[in-house]
């Protein structure tokens, strides 16, 4: 197991697991809100096609959580 941080909270992930899957499994189902309606968004397609799951990883914005493998020490946020 490795650990990364989402908005300061420690999240455990299996080796090779995506950030999106690890968050979803930890009960965090939404990590951003939409521009107009402020609607919550998390995983939907889980294969990189829908772009619902965007988040910021180590300062890089608009990363697909479902396509980004979690690494120890990653700092993740909306």
């Amino acid at each position: 197991m490795i650990e990364f941080r989402f908005e300061g909270r420690a999240i455990a992930a299996e080796e090779g697991q995506s950030i999106g899957a690890a968050l979803h499994a930890a009960g965090i189902r939404s990590w951003r809100t939409t521009r107009f309606g402020g609607r919550p968004r998390g995983l939907f397609c889980a294969i990189g096609a829908c772009f619902d799951c965007l988040l910021t990883v180590n300062g890089a914005p608009d990363q697909r959580a479902c396509q980004t493998v979690a690494r120890a020490g990653d700092e993740v946020g909306p």
């Binding site: 697991q17 939409t34 309606g37 939907f44 397609c45 889980a46």
Partner: protein, 414 residues
């Protein structure tokens, strides 16, 4: 270095092609966007050893171009090859319903991927809904992951045609029977002519509305089911961006190939779901055929197998269509385009202003203009304007960063 063959997509089709091609002594590059090979079907499972193949992972191809020696394939690095095989697979086809943008609504393939590829339990209590035989393995996978699957809802009423098609392929019939038995043992109801027509909850799914459907999918007789997660899938849409960029001929939603996987463009081959959704076994056969078309005559056995699997896929296609009654599931406030948050009301207003085709509608109301470039709403938007869903040409198959573009320029000028 320039390769004899570049394969884009490391699913069953691309993996098979790369392995067979390397065995035949071709210099092969296998490129995939994801960090692992296997595509949507194999995922983490044991995979063939790829001796002699240059495997390039984490490389999302956003454009392919013709060059003097063949093709330039642009991802975060550029690969050149004489022949290109496109094996980019498919993504889930979804249709909108009230609440479908709530977290906790997953695509059926996505739910499957989360269990098989990511080894997580997508939810505690789930409803599986949509159309097509894929719902069965999804439900069984979820059961095995410890999910309490409350119902499996098939919108169509698959008819004798389906039974006849199954009867001709005993292995498929046995597989379907196995899933049905597993669901029965776990006392999971499988209901045909039913669908999830709304999802409810504040920040995440807390329940769904299930309706019975007329044969045309108009809803009646509603009830609610408590659950924290829903998996919905209405079939698959082939990912044809790269062949479209190259001008390959399409029919309906997929690339046209001859029986040796050659597209209408010289030097471009295609195999697997890009050539029409037919499942993993068919993708494997086509991957092998693609290589045979380069190095000699394909064995008649492979050609016959391909024809048999394609006939079966055709029967499935006809048995599990998406029928237009889903429009009655929507309310004016239902989001149709998830990216740009375009509601049915906005689409109706644009239509009143004269937007009678998907293109004009896109310009007026912006559905399909967001990050996913219409991958999720394309089907719905086309049908709402009375058109057949057609693949959209995307100048970039994938969003890319400015850094990638400038890097690319630099390589060009070098």
């Amino acid at each position: 270095m320039s390769y004899d063959l570049a394969v884009v997509g490391a699913g069953p089709a691309g993996l098979t092609a790369a392995r067979v091609a390397a065995k035949r002594g071709l210099r092969v590059a296998l490129i995939d966007a994801y960090a692992r090979t296997g595509g949507q079907f194999l995922r983490g499972a044991a995979q063939p050893r790829l001796t002699g193949v240059d495997v390039k992972l984490g490389q999302r191809v956003w454009a392919v171009e013709r060059s003097s020696g063949g093709f330039e394939i642009h991802a975060s690095t550029t690969t050149t090859a004489a022949i290109l095989l496109v094996a980019t697979g498919a993504h889930d086809k979804v249709i909108p319903f009230p609440g479908w943008d709530l977290p906790g609504v997953l695509t059926a393939g996505g739910a499957q991927a989360l269990v098989k590829g990511e080894r997580i339990r997508p939810g505690a209590e789930m409803v599986v809904a949509g159309t097509g035989p894929f719902l069965l393995p999804v439900a069984v996978t979820l059961l095995e992951a410890g999910v309490r699957v409350k119902e499996v809802l098939e919108a169509n009423r698959p008819a004798p045609r389906m039974a006849a098609a199954l009867a001709r392929i005993p292995s498929k019939a046995a597989e379907a029977l196995g899933y049905a038995r597993r669901l029965a043992e776990a006392r999971v109801p499988y209901r045909t002519g039913h669908a999830v027509v709304a999802a409810h909850g504040e920040d995440s799914v807390e329940g769904v509305t299930v309706a019975r459907l007329t044969p045309g999918w108009r809803p009646y007789a509603w009830r609610t089911v408590d659950c924290d997660t829903v998996a919905v899938g209405y079939g698959f849409t082939p990912q044809v961006d790269l062949p479209l960029q190259l001008g390959c001929a399409l029919t309906g939603d997929h690339v046209v190939t001859d029986d040796r996987q050659r597209t209408s463009v010289e030097g471009v081959l295609a195999a697997g779901e890009v050539t029409g959704v037919a499942g993993a076994p068919s993708a494997v056969v086509e991957g092998a055929l693609a290589v045979h078309s380069l190095v000699g005559e394909p064995p008649p056995r492979l050609l016959a197998e391909k024809a048999r699997l394609r006939r079966f896929a055709r029967a499935l296609d006809l048995s599990y269509p998406v029928r237009d009654g889903w429009r009655d599931w929507l309310t004016p406030d239902t989001v149709v385009c998830r990216c740009e948050e375009v509601t049915l009301r906005a689409i109706d207003e644009a239509r009143d202003l004269g937007a009678h085709d998907p293109r004009t509608l896109k310009l007026l109301a912006r559905p399909g203009m967001g990050w996913c470039q219409g991958r999720m709403c394309g089907h719905a938007v086309a049908r709402l304007t009375g058109h057949e869903p057609a693949p959209q040409k995307r100048p970039f198959a994938q969003p890319i960063t400015l850094a990638d573009l400038t890097l690319h320029d630099r390589e060009d000028n070098a």
